[in-house]
Symmetry: D2
Subunit: 242 residues, 4 copies
């Protein structure tokens, strides 16, 4: 399996807290733990040519992990369209945290993907509400994060195909924190945690969820549907003209 971890990689360059949290970038930290699972992992970032998302790179990517935040608008529309096309062809997509507002996620959802937010060092507890799901493999009843950014409902997304986590926040909100979708032949997993000013992606349970999500999102080798004008498979009767 080939996984590509895409990161905006801007906070890391301007905010010393983030730079200290993630000296190899958020993408570097995610790539590192994914590699433990004998997955072939590459990374790409916004400031590379074509954001590192060339046709060749996309063509060989099985699952794309996406982290972006303050520069969503700089991702070029034609690149977003190529990513969408690849998802519809079967490439998995794991969207993390502020990626809810990325062009690619909004395009695949058809909604604003808006939400409430607050940066207040508050406690988050992600409850597993679907213990049957392979993305919950190896987890306890909940994951507790001492400090995170809050995301609160209403989260303006389509009804998730599956809802795996619901977050409780100290300040009084809840959030649908782990949601899956199907689009075309592709599978999508949105996972909430991972604000850049915290070391969330070093948390072993969070790493486990992302590993599980990547595995779940891998392409299914089923027939690519044929579209357009189709010959009948059965004889069609002649009918009177009325």
């Amino acid at each position: 399996m080939n996984v590509l971890v895409w990161n905006e990689n801007r906070h890391e360059k301007t905010n010393p807290v983030v730079a200290e949290n993630y000296p190899k970038g958020i993408h570097g930290a995610i790539a590192e733990f994914l590699q433990e699972d004998e997955i072939n992992v590459k990374t790409a970032t916004l400031d590379e040519a074509d954001h590192g998302l060339t046709d060749e790179v996309l063509a060989e990517t099985d699952v794309l992990v996406w982290w972006g935040h303050k520069a969503h608008g700089e991702v070029r529309d034609e690149i977003v369209e190529k990513v969408q096309k690849r998802v519809l062809e079967g490439m998995g997509l794991v969207v993390l945290h502020s990626g809810h507002f990325s062009k690619i996620f909004k395009k695949l959802m058809g909604t604003t993907c808006d939400l409430k937010w607050r940066e207040a060092d508050e406690k988050e507890r992600l409850w597993v509400v679907d213990p049957t799901h392979p993305i919950a493999e190896g987890l306890g009843q909940y994951i507790e994060l001492e400090k995170e950014e809050m995301y609160g409902e209403h989260f303006d997304i389509p009804t998730p195909d599956e809802l795996i986590f619901i977050s409780w926040f100290e300040g009084g909100e809840v959030f649908r924190s782990g949601c899956t979708y199907k689009r075309g032949k592709g599978k999508i997993f949105y996972f909430r945690p991972g604000h850049e000013t915290y070391k969330t992606y070093y948390n072993p349970e969070i790493q486990r969820v992302i590993k599980n999500g990547v595995n779940w999102a891998k392409p299914t080798n089923s027939a690519t549907p044929v579209y357009g004008n189709a010959q009948p498979l059965e004889k069609i009767s002649e009918k009177a003209n009325v």
Copy 2:
């Protein structure tokens, strides 16, 4: 309730069969039967200024019915964005037949909305698979149409929130013919039948489904969610810096 029936209204002008089927246009035929239900119905067509979809018209529309086919590309993008915004604000949307390929439907779905098709005067039987649904009110076990265009799976749509009808076609295909979705505060109903060369919209059962769909899609008067930075509702504890 204010309903707006939008029609491309092109086939009616160039194809004598369609002109004969629908002397007042497809929009006229649909408006006519909707009016029986004490609904306030207006119509709009592609060739009007702003396609008849001005801000004022959209603002006062509760449910928009959409029929388009060969001129999807002529619908201006900024109008499509306004319609999407209104759906997310709560306006209902009933998408008919070849409207599956309209810009507005594809934008709200995030997929290609592609499918198989065939024009062969073939029999369609729409089976009710959700008899609990208000859109099935007043129907029998199935609706039979002697001649229709075929639409076949795979239909490249997100998993429907609700699946109400599945079509059987004489030539050997099946199709998810009645699907509901939620996007933002808006409700969407896609309904398959209605090829322009047949008199499908005069069929009383088809009319009943569209009436039911319009009623089901009407806006819910719930609170409009507030998005963005949010003050805590509960006290957040001080935490040690780690």
Copy 3:
């Protein structure tokens, strides 16, 4: 519309706090506010003959509201089967609070319907996560209850067809508090709040949800499906014996 409010009516007889909260019984309080909506409301309780759920009563009931807690086991199995049969025929069912453990709800769900609970006078905030739903009509972004019993995840239910409310609890848990299901021709709404030691059913927003739920759950007048051996609707070809 004929609504029947069923209540176990035992706490009211033994616990002075409950007796004071609900001098006419929980069923009496619920019937009272439902009657404001020109709904024809009757009540029934466990200790009546056949628990007040005779064939005649069930036959004329459009929506049944159910509250039970400490005497679930005393509800006779053959009555539960009759109620299930009526739901499958189209009668709506609104299950409140501790009704999650009623025989009828467990029978319709196929799971244990188990959960976490705690009686600790704690704050509950029910967030609306589906503002399109008619059950959210007239509500704000959330409902706040100063003191309620806590119910926490994991809630052992099938995936809800629709999830309308998610509760936040002061003690750190979340809960899927408003869930809809379809079974046969019947619609089911589970709504969490309503512990007997609090005056929850006098809260106007809670009343609004229950009114909305009763309206949503009313029977759909669609064809009753025909089951069993069926004649072909189309000619079946002769095939060679292999």
Copy 4:
């Protein structure tokens, strides 16, 4: 992975056509192809002690495959309850064909699971409507069976969590032929084909679906939820008595 293939094994003893189709029983045929995948497969049949479903056997079973038809009523209720308990604990369940009317499937669904049927040597074409699903791995756009028993809608089941196949039948019906459900910690896959008088279970594509289904249904090693009275995870404030 330990798979147990359960079969009623009655038609094989009394109907020479079935005996010829399945000389080792339907269970034998299914076990044979499952073993190709390095799965540890055992079988059990109705007439064994405890129907071959002892506590020990169930405890070590990861996925149970179920075929039954004319003797559903002979499966003892206490055994059905044990199987249900194991599914809720996480054991996968693959229900085949006439197993739709088995006690275990009806108990887990909460509905009648009734349908239309006809034995008329008719053609069935199962269309893949969810090409993202691992159960569709390795399949084409559809599976064609020259002769099968017809099952037609309405199929009285809860809304499937996922719908993978829709069948077209020569005689004019459609059917939701591949459905998944979650109950407790267990995953359930219902798959329609497999009437005893045809050699359906020797069809390589049907075998592929059942293999995929068994793999998909395997238990998830997530935390077993804790139910009942729960200590608070956060401090609960003192509140005034009102």
